[in-house]
Every structure is written in structure tokens, then in C-alpha cells.
């Protein structure tokens, strides 16, 4: 087994080194911003994957957790002057608590019905926030411009700090996901996903472990939401609570490969690239083009590779040695 693990560790460190050096090579702020968007998408995809991939409970309402993270850290910062570093953790905790309250009834539903319930919850919260005076409704919340620096997590002169913060957050999220994948809890998740009845017949409480999965997933999703608020310095229901956000988060993981550690990272790379380029190509006249592309990708993944891009890669890797073996036999 060690022979397999060693190259994996080396590969992971090489990948991390590459990510650390990349923005030093690519210095154009617009390109750096593009890299940040990919990391943000990747972090959300990895977080979604914990409930949607490992535990197999497809949520199409993750914008709720994202929005809770964004609104919690922003409100704490505006009203109490709390540092967003703490606000981020607070947002995660609030989102986890909310996810458990929401999961309790929703996990009585299975499959598509669960997914639909999550859409409904997300829509309800969006409408509530849009009509909430304390949260400034549809107008949204702005963070003050003047207050910059590490403590305020606002940087005006360079994109680099944002890049390294989101990279750090992504690494933490991947590590948490990796720890779950390897622990006994990861096996319970997969057991629940593959054969829920058998898991129940062996004494695994389905609801309890689904709640664990969604609590962890929503915690990290909310942290991503807080980061978004700090980076954009403006949030409104349309940008952090919309259905499109939920779909994008799920699609990143599904496209890359559900239930795999780094599939969502790959998915984010592909999806965000397409999204940004379509925006550059079509501009505002093509608003909605990205939605058409999402739809197309869902169809392609569903028809040709339900295991996502990671599934395709595994398939390739399986075929290449067998091709090699054939060539050797012929020679």
C-alpha cells in the first residue's frame, strides 16, 4: 500500500506548490481574479461533495448555506465590528445549525424528493431575506471601503491576499473531506448512499449520519459565502441566495466526479473557465448563455459519464495499461 500512497503525497504537495507559485507567474489582476473564481468554485464543490457525493443526498439548495455565511459575517462586521475571520466561523456554525434544522424533516424524503425540498427551502429563504428590513432586503449589504488590511480581510491594492486566503480555505476543505473519506464515518456515508436499507439493518442510523454530512458540508459552504462577501464587499439575495448559485455548486461536483476527493476541483476548473469565457465572448447580450452551457453539460454528463470527468480519467487509466499490455504481447 505504501507504494501507492507515496506518489499520492508527492503529487498532492506538487499540486499545492504549483498553486502557491501560480499567481506569482500570472500577474495580470484580471487573470488572478479568474484563478480566485476557480478556487472559490472548487472549495464549494468539495464542500457540497460531502453530502451530495459521499452520502449521496443531492442538495440543490446549497445557496442557503452560502448566503447564511455571507450574511452572517457581513452583519456581524457591520453591526458589531467583528473581524470577518471570526465572522466566517460564526457563519459556518449558524449554517450548520440551520442545516440540521432543515435536514431533520427533509431527510424523511428520498432521492428527487429530497432535492426538491432543498430547492424549496432555498427559495423560501431567498424570499424572506429579500423582504427583510434588517437585512436591507433586495438592496443588499455593502462593506465599508475604507477599512482595509488583514484584520478586516479587505484588500484593495492586490488580489494576492484573496488568492492565498481562498487557497488556504480550499486546502482545509479538501483535508476535511479527505479525513472523512478515510474515517469510519466515510464508510457509513457510502453505505447509506449504496444500500440504505442494509445500513439500517446493521444498526446505522441513517438520519444521524446524513445530518453529520450536511452539517459539515454547510459549514464549509458558509465559509465560502463569507469569503465571497469579503471579496466583493457587496451582497444581495440575487448574488448569494439565488437558485443559480445552488445549481452551480452542485454542477461543479457532478461535472468533476461525485464522491471523489479532487473531482470537484477539476469540475470548477472546467466550469468556471467556460462561464468566464462565455461572459467575455457574449458580454451582456449573451446573459443566460452560461445557463445554456450548464444545461448542456448536465445532459452530457448524465448521458456519457455519470461519474464525471474523474470517471473518464479512471476509464482512460484503466484502458492505457491494457493497450500497453497488448502492444507488448504483439512485440
Amino acid at each position: 500500500m505504501t507504494t501507492i500512497h507515496l506518489p499520492k503525497t508527492v503529487g498532492a504537495l506538487a499540486l499545492l506548490g504549483f498553486a502557491l507559485l501560480l499567481p506569482l507567474v500570472i500577474q495580470d489582476p484580471a487573470r488572478q481574479n479568474f484563478l480566485i473564481l476557480i478556487l472559490m468554485g472548487a472549495q464549494l464543490g468539495v464542500a457540497w461533495n460531502i453530502i451530495g457525493g459521499y452520502a449521496g443526498q443531492v442538495s440543490l439548495g446549497h445557496a442557503v448555506f452560502y448566503g447564511i455565511g455571507a450574511y452572517t459575517s457581513t452583519m456581524l462586521s457591520l453591526k458589531l465590528g467583528l473581524s470577518p475571520w471570526l465572522g466566517m466561523l460564526a457563519g459556518g456554525v449558524v449554517a450548520s445549525a440551520f442545516s440540521v434544522a432543515m435536514g431533520w424533516p427533509c431527510f424523511r424524503l428520498k432521492g428527487h424528493y429530497f432535492a426538491m425540498a432543498t430547492i424549496a427551502v432555498a427559495e423560501i429563504v431567498q424570499v424572506l431575506v429579500t423582504n427583510s428590513e434588517t437585512l436591507e432586503g433586495a438592496v443588499g449589504l455593502s462593506l465599508p471601503m475604507g477599512n482595509t488590511g488583514v484584520a478586516a480581510m479587505v484588500f484593495s491594492t492586490s488580489k494576492l491576499p484573496y488568492y492565498y486566503i481562498i487557497l488556504g480555505l480550499l486546502v482545509v476543505t479538501v483535508l476535511a473531506s479527505w479525513a472523512i473519506e478515510r474515517s469510519h464515518i466515510g464508510y457509513y456515508f457510502r453505505a447509506i448512499k449504496d444500500e440504505p436499507e442494509a445500513a439500517r439493518a446493521l444498526g446505522v442510523s441513517l438520519t444521524r449520519y446524513k445530518l453529520v454530512a450536511i452539517a459539515v458540508s454547510s459549514f464549509f459552504t458558509a465559509m465560502g459565502g463569507s469569503f465571497y462577501a469579503q471579496k466583493e464587499m457587496f451582497i444581495d439575495p440575487g448574488s448569494v441566495l439565488a437558485t443559480g448559485v445552488s445549481i452551480k455548486i452542485a454542477l461543479i461536483a457532478i461535472l468533476g466526479g461525485v464522491g471523489t476527493l479532487l473531482g470537484p476541483v477539476l469540475g470548477a476548473g472546467i466550469l468556471i473557465t467556460i462561464e468566464e469565457y462565455s461572459r467575455v465572448l457574449f458580454g451582456s447580450t449573451g446573459s443566460g448563455t452560461d445557463m445554456i452551457i450548464y444545461a448542456l453539460m448536465i445532459i452530457l454528463v448524465a448521458v456519457y459519464s455519470p461519474a464525471g470527468v474523474m470517471g473518464l480519467l479512471h476509464e482512460l487509466r484503466r484502458r492505457i495499461p491494457s493497450l500497453r499490455a497488448k502492444a507488448e504481447v504483439r512485440a
Binding site: 457509513y188 457510502r190 453505505a191 449504496d194 444500500e195 439493518a201 446493521l202 444498526g203 442510523s205
Partner: protein, 234 residues
């Protein structure tokens, strides 16, 4: 050990079992036999808590089970090996077994049960790192039974253990059921392979359209004319 009285259960208001009563004492093998769609599996699933109990009472070791969720019944020593085995196909043989030990935290016992599984079925030991989905039907059934044993049940309920198993291995499966009983574990067995089931059972119940219509020792039922005509084609 188990006392089931007049239980009823239904699927979307269509009654599947109307009136089933049965008892099982410690160390017994009891078989429920009957044709397809007569409520055999539903009876086991209702006892396990996977189906809703509409009426009647179920007592395990003197404790009423009504309303208790399925996963908590496992802690009382009640384990169901479901029909069709329901293995975690993409996990390895060993991971499947360890999941079976979900409620058994004691590592010594866990190791002991792994060894029992591997000595009883050496093929499982040879394939412990292999994905469960790649095993043959018979091997999968052995694995499912061993997985059920991992939590050290007092009562093991087996739903169609000979389903999809090569005839050569069926004998092996039934021998194992007897070997499990030797370890002091009681067995409630549901089978379509009526002859084999009644041969090893201490007592048996015949179920028809959701009702127990006959009961007796395994030998009596095997010799009964009605059973022979209806189910054994003799």
C-alpha cells in the same frame, strides 16, 4: 426470545400480512415457508422495523419493539440479513464486515468475528481486499451472513439465503446456518427452498396470503400432505 402476536403490516394500505403470530426460543432455528407474495419477507422486515407495524405486538427478550427505529433494534441483538444480500458492492469484503460491526465497539470481539468469518469461509479471507460486488452469488451470501454476525446478534433473521446461489453452494449455506446456531444464536429463516429449510428447522410456520395457516416441527410439516402437495409437488 421472540414473541410475535397478531401482527399486521401493509404497503400503501394494501395489507401484506394480516395476522401473523410466531414464537422462537433461544437457540432455535425457526423457518417461515410459503409461496411468493404471501408475506414472508414482510414479516421479517416488520420484525426488523423496516416496515411499519399496523397492529399486534412484537416482543424481543420481553421488550416491546413497537415504534422503535430499525437501527436501535440492532442494539437489542436483532439483525436482519436482507433478501438479495444488499452488500455494499463498491466496498471491500473486509470493509463490509467492519460495517457489520457498527454497534460493536469492542476491538477484541471484532477481530474474533473477522476470524470466524475467515475460518468458516476461507474464500472471504482470500478476497478480503476485493470489492464485494465482484464475488459470486454464493460468496456474497456468505459475506452477507458474516456481516450480519459481526454485531454479535442473539437473533439472526435470514431472508432467502439460498437466493441466487449455485446449487452446490446451497448445501454449504444451510450447513453454516446450523453452525451459527451452534454458537448459541437463534435463527429465524424465510425460504422458498421449503424442503431444505424444513430439514434444518426445529419448527416451521406456513404462511399463506398474509396469515399463518399451519405450524409444527420441521419434520411434521415436511410429512404433511397439504405441504407436500402445495409446495413440494409430491
Amino acid at each position: 426470545m421472540l414473541d410475535v402476536r397478531n401482527i399486521q403490516s401493509s404497503y400503501r394500505r394494501v395489507p401484506a400480512i394480516r395476522d401473523v403470530s410466531l414464537t422462537l426460543s433461544k437457540g432455535e432455528i425457526v423457518a417461515i415457508v410459503g409461496g411468493n407474495g404471501n408475506g414472508k419477507s414482510t414479516t421479517l422486515r416488520t420484525i426488523a422495523g423496516l416496515n411499519v407495524l399496523d397492529g399486534g405486538t412484537i416482543q424481543l427478550k420481553g421488550k416491546a419493539l413497537a415504534g422503535m427505529p430499525a437501527h436501535e433494534r440492532v442494539r437489542l441483538g436483532l439483525v436482519l440479513v436482507p433478501e438479495g444480500r444488499r452488500l455494499f458492492a463498491r466496498l471491500t469484503v473486509e470493509q463490509n464486515l467492519l460495517l457489520g460491526a457498527f454497534i460493536a465497539d469492542d476491538p477484541v470481539h471484532r477481530q474474533e468475528m473477522l476470524e470466524f468469518a475467515y475460518t468458516t469461509f476461507p474464500v472471504l479471507g482470500e478476497r478480503r481486499k476485493q470489492q464485494a460486488g465482484t464475488l459470486s452469488g454464493g460468496e456474497q451470501q456468505m459475506l452477507a451472513m458474516c456481516r450480519g454476525l459481526m454485531s454479535r446478534p442473539d437473533l439472526l433473521m435470514l431472508d432467502e439465503p439460498s437466493w441466487g446461489v449455485a446449487p452446490k453452494l446451497v448445501t454449504r449455506i444451510f450447513e453454516t446456518i446450523q453452525a451459527i446456531r451452534e454458537r448459541g444464536i437463534s435463527i429465524l429463516l424465510v425460504e422458498q427452498n421449503i424442503h431444505r429449510a424444513l430439514e434444518i428447522a426445529d419448527r416451521g410456520y406456513v404462511i399463506q396470503t398474509g396469515r399463518i395457516v399451519m405450524q409444527g416441527t420441521g419434520k411434521d410439516l415436511l410429512g404433511n400432505d397439504m405441504v407436500r402437495q402445495a409446495y413440494l409437488g409430491m
